[in-house]
């Protein structure tokens, strides 16, 4: 009975006006979000259940795109392990490289700002330029690296044209461009209280132990952040592999995003590509959830752990 007595409280005129004013002010963002984010998202979900080629109206086919991907697309079985290899190895390596570089540049080395700029520089270079630079450097005919090998009477190394080497080479190129992570780590490292190091030093901790027990735990939230964003970007990586290898040789660098693009814009199978996009979304969400769930084991949050 008491519940019945509770009166629903209506907004007063001034409150309604305030709400309306607020909504009006956020409306540009709201409209943009609805049109440019929510609508394409919902559309792609619908298209994933259709046969759609962009030029003709979609035809509803239920789950056939999803079923076909797992049962009859021979490339899908190739791109999944390729992508997991690329992301699973490439992202942690890029994060580790950035962290080590940042640690190095956080020490009082000579010309530290210059080194920071040098290591950060690749991350502001557009991916197309990176592809051009490395394409020429690794060129088997006249690339600088192979030219040296040939001058020494050795065989040229087919960095990007051998199925065994193409993926590791792309990962190495990706590591070269991890300057953005390095800057994040540098900022974090500079916030690690010096007194912790001093106390540990007084207690007789070696540099390695200080690094392991102080530096890494205090940077672990940023490590988690870089890993999560790295995985997300890695799963969607397109430009470098597309420009440097085009998915070859022998499909060794045919990653998820390349196969998705090929289906969408080369074969006009936008319905299938939409299904691929949603499967990728689920994979990425899964990866992220696993990382966050397991993060309590390796991430140190000063506020909660105190």
């Amino acid at each position: 009975m008491a519940a019945l007595l509770v009166k629903r409280r209506w907004l007063s005129v001034s409150e309604r006006r305030r709400l309306l004013t607020g909504l009006v002010f956020v409306s540009p963002w709201l409209v943009g979000f609805l049109i440019w984010t929510l609508y394409p998202l919902a559309s792609s979900l619908y298209y994933s259940f259709t046969r759609y080629d962009l030029l003709r109206p979609p035809v509803f086919i239920g789950l056939r795109n999803y079923v076909d991907l797992f049962t009859s697309d021979p490339h899908f079985r190739v791109v999944i392990p390729n992508t997991l290899y690329y992301v699973g190895l490439g992202t942690p390596l890029a994060v580790a490289t950035a962290f080590l570089l940042a640690s190095l540049l956080n020490t009082p080395v000579i010309a530290r700002p210059t080194f920071r700029a040098i290591f950060y520089f690749p991350s502001i270079v557009p991916a197309t330029v990176i592809a051009m630079i490395w394409g020429y450097l690794l060129n088997p005919q006249y690339g600088a690296i192979n030219a040296v090998l040939k001058a020494l009477g050795l065989r040229a190394i087919p960095f990007l044209t051998s199925p065994a080497l193409a993926k590791p080479t792309l990962i190495a190129i990706g590591m070269w461009g991890s300057g953005y992570y390095m800057v994040l780590f540098l900022a974090t490292l500079q916030n690690v209280p010096r007194e912790l190091y001093e106390a540990a030093t007084v207690d007789g901790a070696t540099a390695l132990r200080r690094f392991w027990h102080i530096t890494i735990p205090l940077c672990s939230p940023v490590i988690l952040f870089t890993l999560v964003t790295g995985f997300i970007y890695g799963f969607q990586d397109f430009t470098l592999p597309w420009l440097l290898t085009g998915g070859g040789p022998s499909e060794s660098t045919e990653f998820y995003a390349l196969h998705l693009f090929r289906n969408a814009f080369r074969y006009l199978r936008m319905g299938k590509a939409s299904a691929m996009a949603w499967i990728l979304f689920i994979i990425v969400v899964g990866f992220t959830v696993v990382l966050f769930k397991s993060s309590s084991r390796f991430v140190y949050y000063a506020d909660t752990n105190e």
């Binding site: 040229a156 044209t161 199925p163 070859g248 040789p249 074969y267 199978r269």
Partner: protein, 470 residues
């Protein structure tokens, strides 16, 4: 006059409402522009049923092409300066956008803002999906675009399900010949006056022309059968393998594929031999530099002594590497031993198509007509070495201007078999799968027989999944 003062809050509310309304209005589709993809019915509409907008004066006519580079720009600049072009253009303006990526073209068409015309694009994708204007009526009224003026193969490419969707223009002639560098051939102790006829004979040349250094690095190869016109197949060019081995890989009427056969298997095996001699990684390395996306690059750099290319090769080589072009000669596309004596040739070429949504289809068509006039043909031949599909123009060409070109003219009369591209709606898919599977064969991950069977299976499944088998 009432006392209607607007307070600050009301002003902000009203201004924001107006702003939001403005954003909404800007996002709304413009009147008169198609906002949805063309209907499926229109795909199969016979000539004349597709409504063609009335001619408009003073519009911007946009032509987008897949070709890029200075050659096409120079040629188009020269054409644009001609009286014929100016007269056809009237008070309209013209804009050429070159090097347009396929995805960009597709996005423009799908979004309802296509260019007026396109060339060197995936013609069949747009024809089969109803994105183009059927131009039968315009062609019927034209005094320049006449069927009898064009090579049959090129003319046929413009049709899909009985309607004509494009004007053969800019480039079109014969597609296949084995071009070779006579200087390198002679240096290898071979007779350039007695070129190979069969694949076995070409392989013998390949063996002698391929050179490696002491460490095994490839310095030069004889022939990469998967290079240039062997690289894959296209609706505008045809496919080297069925032309050489002699069969039709797709039945346009029955909508069936014939890819799992002895000829396909033999083609995989024969071409593999060439790759084995060089080394699959070596060849991929060589082509990643010299040949990728630039047909003839390896030939121009003299790290490849032979190349299978169309009639454009002599002219393009002359423009890009004049010293090499001096030694260029051409002969028949090789055939398997079982077909010795057969002289195969393929005719194909490019179209200019007019998109639905063009603001001035008639004006665009007039420009297509000029692209088939002498002034345009001269410009394309001069700057690019390209020939049109117009038969009468061939009498005006001095074939001796580019070494090797004369062979193509002779082959037009001497060929014993003629092929042209087949209207298979999943041509690009089939071509990519062929290239994927040849990689598997060349790397011993699959036998030629398995690859042929797999190619057949994949094409059949894709054809069905893409909705063309129904």
């Amino acid at each position: 006059m009432g006392n209607k003062r607007v307070c600050r809050r009301e002003f902000l509310v009203q201004a924001s409402t107006l702003g939001a309304a403005g954003v909404l209005a800007a996002c709304a589709p413009k009147t008169g522009k198609p906002t949805v993809a063309p209907s499926e019915k229109a795909t199969t509409a016979p000539a004349g049923e597709v409504p063609v907008p009335a001619p408009a004066e003073g519009t911007l006519i946009r032509l987008w092409t897949g070709w890029g580079g200075t050659g096409i720009r120079k040629a188009m600049d020269e054409i644009a300066a001609s009286e014929e072009w100016k007269e056809a253009l009237g008070n309209n303006t013209f804009e050429l956008k070159d090097a347009v990526e396929g995805a960009a073209m597709l996005a423009a068409v799908a979004s309802g803002d296509p260019p007026d015309a396109g060339s060197n694009i995936q013609y069949l994708d747009f024809m089969a999906r109803g994105a183009l204007i059927a131009i039968d009526d315009m062609v019927a009224a034209s005094s320049i675009i006449k069927k009898e003026n064009f090579i049959e193969g090129n003319w046929a490419l413009a049709f899909y399900k009985g309607a004509m969707y494009g004007v053969p223009a800019i480039e079109g002639f014969l597609r296949f010949a084995l071009n070779y560098n006579a200087k390198l051939v002679e240096e290898a102790g071979l007779d350039p006056d007695n070129p190979p006829v069969t694949w076995d004979e070409v392989y013998a040349w390949h063996e002698k022309l391929t050179k490696k250094d002491s460490a095994g690095n490839v310095l030069r190869i004889g022939l990469n059968p998967y290079g240039a016109m062997g690289e894959g197949f296209w609706y505008s060019d045809g496919w080297m393998v069925p032309t050489s081995w002699g069969w039709q890989w797709f039945d346009e009427d029955k909508k069936t594929f014939d890819l799992n056969n002895d000829k396909m298997i033999d083609a995989f095996a024969t071409q593999k031999k060439f790759i084995d001699l060089v080394g699959v990684d070596n060849l991929a390395s060589l082509y990643s530099v010299e040949g990728r996306d630039t047909w003839g690059g390896a030939y121009n750099a003299e790290v490849e002594a032979m190349i299978i290319e169309g009639y454009w090769h002599p002219g393009e080589t002359a423009n890009e590497a004049p010293e090499v072009a001096k030694h260029n000669r051409a002969t028949w596309l090789p055939v398997p031993e079982s077909r010795r004596g057969v002289k195969p040739q393929g005719a194909a070429g490019h179209l200019v198509v007019i998109f639905k949504g063009s603001k001035n289809p008639q004006g665009t068509f007039k420009l297509c007509e000029v692209l088939n006039m002498k002034v345009a043909c001269d410009a394309f031949f001069k700057h690019l070495g390209w020939l049109p599909s117009i038969k009468s123009y061939y009498d005006e060409v001095d074939a001796s201007v580019y070494p090797g070109l004369d062979f193509y003219f002779r082959s037009a009369h001497e060929a014993t078999e003629f092929y042209w591209p087949l209207r298979c709606e999943i041509t690009e898919f089939a071509s990519n799968e062929y290239l994927n599977l040849k990689d598997k064969v060349n790397r011993n991950e699959m036998s030629p027989a398995e690859a042929a069977a797999e190619l057949q299976r994949r094409c059949e499944e894709e054809y069905k999944a893409a909705g063309f088998a129904e």
